[in-house]
Structure formats: C-alpha cells, structure tokens
C-alpha cells in the first residue's frame, strides 16, 4: 500500500482534472435550462394565454395552447393578424420604437428528428430579414420540461438614428407532441439595452428569462 502512495496521489490528481473537465460540460446553473417548475405568476408581470378564437388561416390551422408571463411594462405588438407567422409578440422598446428585447411565439410543425434541418430553413428565412445576419450556434436545448432545438444569430444595423446597433437573436423550435402542435419561440435583443451583451445572453440576461421560464404549453 505504502509503495503505491505516489500512484494513488497521481490517480487522485488525474481524477480531479478529469472531474474538472466534466464540470465544464455541465449546464450553467444561471440559465433557463433549469426546469422552472409549474408556470407561476410573478409580481409585475402580465399573463398571456393563447386563445384559438383569435386566429384564422394558418395560425388557426396550427393553433397550440400556451401561456407565458411578461413584464407589465412591455407592450403587446401586432401579431396573429393577416400573414403573420406569430401568435403573439411582446416587446420592451424605447420611446422611439427601437427594440431592446422582444419575444414572439410562432406556429411550428415538425418532428424532433428533423430539427437541425428545419432550424436551417428558419435561419435561412431570417437571413433575409436582418442586415448582416450570421448564425453563430445551434443545438439541442430545453425550455422548462420541453426538449427543443435552437439557433442563435447576430445581425448589425449600421447608421440608424441610434448609431450602429447590434442585434442578437435566439430561435427555439419546440416540436409537437401527441395531440399538440409545436411552437417557435423567437427572442431578439439589441445593443441599445444595457444587460444583454451578445447572442449567448439572449434569454439568459435582461428580462427575457422571466418570459422563457414561465412559458408553458396548455394541457
């Protein structure tokens, strides 16, 4: 035993290094991957509940029940009308209508096996809507108890009335389940705000986590 002392010591050191590496691959506890438990109403928030009777056309065809809470200071924007792919959109903006953060829920149908391909297609659509669009990451994710697939992106608006503005986005595709359609959660944040500093912060910092953590499909 005694002559193996060095081996035990080396093994312990090695194990420590390997456990440290494994720790690095664990989800950050400050993020929204932690199951939030049942959606609950937070002080200073308003609850949005999706309602079938509000929609026609594609939104009615692909209707899904869901609820989420959003800060009461945010505004509901036009969505769910005409050709909009979104059931709802809420936004925190400046007085001159620049987006600081926003959150939209759109319809989405697709099997979980096809998520990477579908994410590519959605990303391709986004690339036509944002200047200097660049997808920076994609992969599996979770929103509370729901498995999803996400991609994050950056865009850049030059020479706006606010100067150069960086836009960071995150789109989470939640596949449908037995008897329930899926949904696409689209989050945007801009460099006009103070808390979100890059694509990795979208839905992690600022006020979007309040919304994301409260998102829940209806029964």
């Amino acid at each position: 035993m005694r002559h193996h002392f060095k081996k035990h010591l080396l093994s312990l050191l090695g194990l420590g290094v390997f456990l440290f590496l494994a720790l690095g691959s664990l989800p950050n506890t400050n993020n929204n991957n932690q199951p939030p438990g049942p959606a609950r109403h937070t002080a200073g928030t308003t609850t949005y509940t999706n309602s079938r009777s509000d929609f026609t056309g594609k939104l009615a065809d692909n209707y899904v029940d869901f609820t989420f809470d959003y800060p009461s200071s945010w505004k509901r924007k036009d969505a769910g009308k005409a050709d909009s792919p979104n059931f709802v959109k809420v936004e925190n903006g400046t007085s001159d209508n620049f987006t600081i953060e926003n959150f939209a829920v759109g319809y989405f149908t697709g099997q979980s096996e096809l998520m990477p391909k579908l994410a590519d297609q959605v990303s391709e659509q986004f690339s036509h809507s944002f200047p200097e669009y660049r997808k920076v990451s994609q992969g599996e994710t979770k929103v509370g108890p729901y498995d999803g697939y996400e991609f994050r992106f950056t865009a850049h608006v030059a020479n706006s009335s606010k100067g150069d503005v960086d836009i960071w986005g995150r789109c989470i595709l939640l596949p449908g389940d037995t008897g329930r359609k899926g949904a696409a959660l689209i989050m945007l944040a801009s460099s006009i705000g103070n808390e979100v500093k890059g694509p990795d912060d979208v839905g992690e910092k600022g006020e979007l986590p309040v919304i994301l953590n409260s998102f829940k499909f209806g029964d």
Partner: protein, 155 residues
C-alpha cells in the same frame, strides 16, 4: 511508473482536446466552460470559431455531437489510469482506479435509467462509455506488451 509525454499526448490529451473541441464548436453555449472561456477573454474568439463551423452542424450525426465527447472522456481517463497502474500486480485498488472511467461514464447512464441520476438514459451513450473503456484498456495493454517485447529482445 513514468508518464511519457508521447503516451499522454496520444491517449489522454488528444481525446480530451478532441472531445472539448466538439463541445466548443457545436454544443449548447449555456455550459460552465463557456463562462470560464469568457472570463479569460476567449469569448469573442470562440464565438468566431463557432460561427465559422456552425454550417457543418446539420450534417454531423447525433452520436458525434452528443456521445463521442463522453466516450473520449472515458477513454482518456481509463488510459491515464492504465498508464499509472499498468504493470502493478492486480489488486482491488488498481482495478478500482482503472475502471473509474467506466464506472463514472456507464454508471451515470445506468443511474439515469434507474432514475437516481438526473437526465435521460441513452443506450448509445452507454455503448460509447463501455466501448471507450475497453478500447483504452486494449490499446494501452498492446502498447505495454510491445514495449516489453522490445525490451526482452534487446536483452
């Protein structure tokens, strides 16, 4: 017992780096490692790297992204322990240290199956852990056998 650099580089560092690179390039950025990288000023560099390789992700199989890194971790840990404990007479402690990678890798999967470890059981993950540990033991045994033969031949 000497930990030769060539052995460490091939059987320990290389698998760990390869697995780490998969995480850095294509895995969810909500991981502790990305906080650490950001803290040491590597955030922008890694964002650029992720942006450059993001296009390859859809064509990469699931096992490559989610199972291989775990398998490489088990391989590296088992190879390291084999190197440290190789050549010593069999003992419960030596076997215990050598099988630690397998115990942690496969054990966590089986724990998920039993519902005592958080997460979803994945049989492919389990296969990769067992296969990686076996491969590490095989390669490191071959390595030491070849060296022993050379040594005996040169006597």
């Amino acid at each position: 017992m000497k930990l030769r650099f060539s052995f460490l580089a091939l059987h320990v560092l290389l698998p760990v780096l390869a697995g780490g690179l998969i995480y850095i390039c294509w895995r969810d950025p909500d991981l502790f490692m990305f906080r650490w990288f950001g803290a040491v000023g590597l955030g922008t560099l890694l964002n650029d790297l992720r942006a450059a390789v993001a296009g390859a992700q859809p064509s990469l199989p699931r096992w490559f992204l989610y199972c291989l890194p775990d398998g490489l971790w088990v391989y590296a840990l088992t190879a390291f322990m084999m190197r440290v404990w190789g050549g010593t007479r069999s003992s419960v402690l030596a076997i215990g240290w050598i099988s630690l990678g397998l115990v942690i890798g496969a054990g966590s999967e089986l724990g998920q199956l039993a519902g005592i470890v958080p997460g979803a059981f994945d049989r492919v993950d389990l296969f990769f852990s067992v296969f990686a540990a076996g491969l590490a033991i095989f390669f490191t045994s071959i390595n030491s056998t070849i060296k022993r033969s050379f040594n005996e031949a040169s006597l």
